[in-house]
Symmetry: C2
Subunit: 340 residues, 2 copies
């Protein structure tokens, strides 16, 4: 099969790889209908995370079940399924508490490489959620978004305790931030401030329910949020970047007693204890337990209540993955869908 | 009047100070029935916080209202009142959300100095809570504890989302940690692990409801908590120290999806972003909004449902405040009550 490999920073190649096979009796093999490039893939692509290449890439996937192991009971060949970036048993105490991305048996999909034609999904019963029927083609981008960026933005909004009547600020205008806007709208936020300085992303943020756009960053951005909230700060802040600046911007933009939901994979972040202490914020986040939200998100997408697929503004054949990485790196695209 | 002043690290003196007077029409003057030395007073006493001495000391107080300003409506002379370490209007949006210690008009009591015979309390209507009647003498230590350490331990337990059925670990065996144990018991925790290596404190922890004692600290302490929780970590951890070690011990002892309530005033703490991100814990804390809990805590004390006054294991005349600081610094006393 064809699959993307990262050889070194900036060097993505699509090449012939072995077809995946059932290894454990709890595995499933799926034929991918679509996959994509994630903002988090750009960290190693940019050399900001070590690359131990050549390494398979990609952790977002939807597709048709081809084959299942002997112990798989809940999915069967022919079904269209959505999974997420950590395989999870969905039965351990941590999963049952809703933290499937910290499942005691979790397996990272990134190491298996979802930017490919086929994928072995461990713990298939716990990981995969089937759609009621085979979805229409135009629903596939939305379902693919549910696999990570929608689920991650949704988790951020839930972690930030977005509720009716609240003011929400969203730091980060990548796909996760934009879908955090969509989640905040769905969860009933009264006011949603998207922090973005890119016209195309502002436009999508407004389409997804943002009521205000703030272009300033850092201390100036915080001052603008304070201006919009009677000097107090937002009730809820969604952090979808992962840098020291974005974390501090998020904490400082939140009112005492408010909630920061942070999902940008943190890089070189150290939170100053005293400032955090006196900020009085609630801080929660981490790798999103997308599996918790998948059944609800699939329903909302299939019902056409939400349309998260709009974050894909470029679709390319899998063989052009390198161009997809470049387009995202250069911010020519919000998010790139790859067709296997 | 007599009042304690910190001149330099290790140098506390009780000396003649001006009697406080009404400054703002929202002030009250109270004659202190009891005051005390706080663990947080030890930071400047030990030279670990800058001392701009001579500075008045103390922020915990109960007493009788002597006089009120022209705008005070809710307390009157002769009442026995409990307040906390931040005066708050209790009407602003932040107070109404339960974060009175971040009130937009807050005034720190520490700067006024409650280790004294009289105290001016700003924003008296919002700050002070009167007891139903003049309390019996043996209730005064408990009511004094409500002024800070009980309210702080309570907030930590609430911030750590202690609930029936949960396992709670308590890091720190000072008065706040011990009263965190009491709060956890009252809130229905199934198992309460006190982390302490001092026999007298272990004994009080067990009296307050601890089910297990762990004497190890740091990584070994974390390993013991994991052993006690099927490898997962506690659902809730109360952090009542404020050092880098105690914060990391708390975060690492908490299971994914669990809650850390941290109330130890942080000193030289920097939380590593990546570890925090993947820990999946909820983090909340800061200066406790004691005012939120005072009405309930006063009822529980006056009803003799709880007895937080046991944390005072040494009582001294105010004039011997210096000995009180020494006793706490040398860990000869858990907490020292001062009689004005």
């Amino acid at each position: 099969m064809r699959g993307a490999m990262l050889y070194a920073p900036g060097d993505v190649r699509v090449e012939e790889r072995d077809d995946p096979r059932i290894v454990e009796p709890t595995d499933a093999i799926i034929r991918l209908s679509a996959t994509c490039v994630c903002g988090s893939d750009l960290w190693p692509y940019r050399g900001l995370e070590p690359v131990h290449g050549p390494a398979p890439m990609g952790h977002e996937y939807v597709g048709i079940v081809e084959e299942v192991g002997a112990d798989v009971r809940r999915v069967r060949p022919g079904q269209f399924v959505v999974g997420s970036f950590f395989a999870s048993d969905n039965t351990c105490e941590i999963c049952r508490a809703g933290y499937q991305s910290s499942c005691v048996h979790r397996v990272g999909i990134g190491g298996l490489g979802a930017q490919a034609q086929y994928l072995r999904v461990p713990l298939a019963d716990g990981t995969l959620v089937a759609t009621p029927d085979l979805p229409a083609d135009d629903l596939i981008p939305g379902l693919l978004a549910a696999s990570d960026v929608l689920g991650t933005g949704w988790f951020a909004a839930v972690a930030a305790q977005v509720e009716p009547g609240k003011t929400v600020a969203v730091v980060g205008d990548g796909a996760v931030g934009l879908l955090g806007v969509l989640a905040a709208k769905h969860l009933g936020a009264e006011r949603i401030v998207a922090m973005s300085r890119h016209a195309d992303r502002q436009k999508l943020a407004l389409a997804y329910g943002a009521t205000d756009i703030v272009t300033e960053r850092g201390d100036e951005g915080v001052a603008r949020i304070k201006d919009l909230t009677g000097g107090l700060g937002a009730h809820s802040v969604i952090e979808a970047v992962g840098t020291q600046e974005s974390m501090m911007q998020s904490i400082r933009a939140t009112r005492p007693g408010g909630h920061v939901g942070y999902v940008g994979v943190t890089h070189d972040v150290a939170l100053p204890g005293t400032e955090l202490f006196f900020s009085h914020v609630h801080l929660h986040g981490g790798p999103a337990p997308v599996r918790r939200f998948l059944p609800e998100l699939i329903d909302l997408i299939v019902d056409r209540t939400i349309d998260p697929g709009q974050v894909f503004d470029l679709a390319l054949p899998l063989d052009q993955a390198a161009e997809g990485y470049r387009a995202m790196d250069e911010r020519r695209a919000i998010k790139v869908l790859l067709q296997p």
